[in-house]
């Protein structure tokens, strides 16, 4: 019984570790007495191997698919919407007080709006480049193929982008559950990263064509500016929170902080990916496939 449990625990080790030591440890388990202590020792060893994955001889760095990281980040952000934005009404931070700290309120809302606008600038830049590239000989055929891929990607992401924009506009216009002034100021921070993540496949697809590399770089820079504006807006939200947190609980502050960190993190990851994978030389094709794994 214990031997079977120990064998099962062995499967909890990282694959690189099992490839390297698995057979030897399985042999030890088969040839020595196995007690509860052996099983707990193996479980602790598995946790240690995951924590010190880089120490495993021949192990590659842990890689997570970029798409999965972005989806998880946006999902986490929207889970924090309730505790961070809707519960802001509990702070008794009325619109009148927001008017007193008007410059912070305006900074937050306008930076989030500007971040969204910069994000939407990327597809525009790529659309112009795709049209221009298709007309240039002798790369016309390849460039047209990339242009078509960019267009198909744009069609695929257009609906979710529209949905995100519609929801954001609806909340900004006061539809649905009413939010307090502070909640209104930070609403954009929950939508901009999602928008950026949805736009990201476009520059990544465009990089396949040397003629569109310039536009892909420009789109990457627009996303980087959007990420910076998003971070500035969250700083303004922090200022507003400091003014109105007399009635705020520790849980509420933690929810806002988690929302801010997730929002800034997702936006930074999108910008870093778009900039990091842009080829510097237009004649060189990118090494990485679009939406490939990301090193953590």
């Amino acid at each position: 019984m214990m031997r079977a449990v120990a064998g099962a625990v062995l499967s909890l080790y990282p694959k690189a570790w099992r490839d390297r030591y698995g057979e030897e440890v399985a042999d030890l388990i088969a040839s020595r007495p196995v007690r509860l202590r052996t099983v707990t020792d193996l479980a602790a060893g598995a946790a240690d191997a995951w924590l010190h994955h880089r120490r495993i001889p021949g192990a590659r760095p842990l890689r997570l698919p970029l798409a999965a990281v972005l989806v998880a980040g946006v999902y986490a952000l929207w889970l924090l919407w309730g505790p961070a934005v809707r519960d802001a009404s509990g702070l008794r931070f009325p619109w009148e007080q927001a008017a007193e700290a008007g410059w912070l309120f305006r900074t937050a809302t306008s930076c989030f709006v500007a971040a969204g606008a910069m994000t939407l600038l990327s597809p525009w830049q790529l659309g112009i480049a795709a049209r221009a590239a298709g007309k240039q000989a002798p790369y016309g055929v390849a460039a047209r193929a990339t242009g078509r891929r960019v267009l198909l990607t744009a069609l695929a992401v257009a609906f979710p982008i529209g949905l995100v924009l519609l929801t954001y506009a609806g909340l900004a216009l006061g539809w649905g559950h009413p939010v307090a002034a502070l909640g209104g100021a930070m609403t954009g921070g929950f939508f901009v990263p999602a928008l950026m993540a949805l736009v990201l496949p476009l520059p990544l697809t465009a990089m396949a064509s040397p003629l569109m590399a310039g536009a892909a770089r420009a789109a990457g820079r627009s996303l980087a500016v959007a990420a910076v504006l998003n971070a500035i807006a969250w700083l303004a939200v922090a200022g507003l929170l400091a003014l109105g947190m007399r009635d705020g609980s520790a849980w509420y502050v933690a929810a806002v902080a988690a929302g801010a960190l997730t929002s800034i993190g997702v936006a930074a990851l999108v910008a870093r990916t778009a900039l990091g994978r842009s080829p510097h030389d237009p004649a060189v094709l990118p090494e990485h496939p679009p939406l490939g794994p990301t090193r953590l």
């Binding site: 570790w17 390297r20 030591y21 057979e23 030897e24 440890v25 042999d27 030890l28 388990i29 040839s31 020595r32 202590r37 052996t38 020792d41 193996l42 479980a43 602790a44 060893g45 598995a46 240690d48 191997a49 010190h52 120490r55 495993i56 001889p57």
Partner: protein
């Protein structure tokens, strides 16, 4: 050496036992456990032993020996032997200080 040993964390003592065991010749995991139990009285479990082997191998203090058998033997390297000498010298200094202080306490 002291700093390098500290980096082994909770595996420092186990790593020392493994190096001592391998200093007399190459051994596979099963024989290491038996040997260490024999000369130190410490009964090692597989998870702890292979946690230490992973660190020692990554540090280049031990290396696997090519073998067609299921049980892969390990041997100590030159830098592993140097590290062991330094660590034993440190232990000797600690032991001498301990003996001196125990004697003062009795005087």
């Amino acid at each position: 050496m002291a700093r390098k040993s500290q980096e082994l964390g909770r595996f420092t003592d186990v790593a020392l036992l493994v190096l001592i065991s391998l200093a007399e010749g190459q051994k596979h995991g099963y024989r290491m456990i038996s040997d260490i139990e024999e000369f130190s009285g410490t009964s090692l479990e597989p998870g702890t032993l292979y946690g230490a082997l992973m660190r020692l191998e990554q540090r280049g203090w031990i290396e696997p020996v090519e073998s067609s058998e299921r049980r892969k033997p390990y041997r100590i390297t030159g830098s592993g032997r140097d590290a062991l000498r330094e660590q034993l010298a440190t232990l000797r200094r600690v032991e001498q200080a301990g003996v001196r202080r125990v004697a003062w306490g009795q005087a």
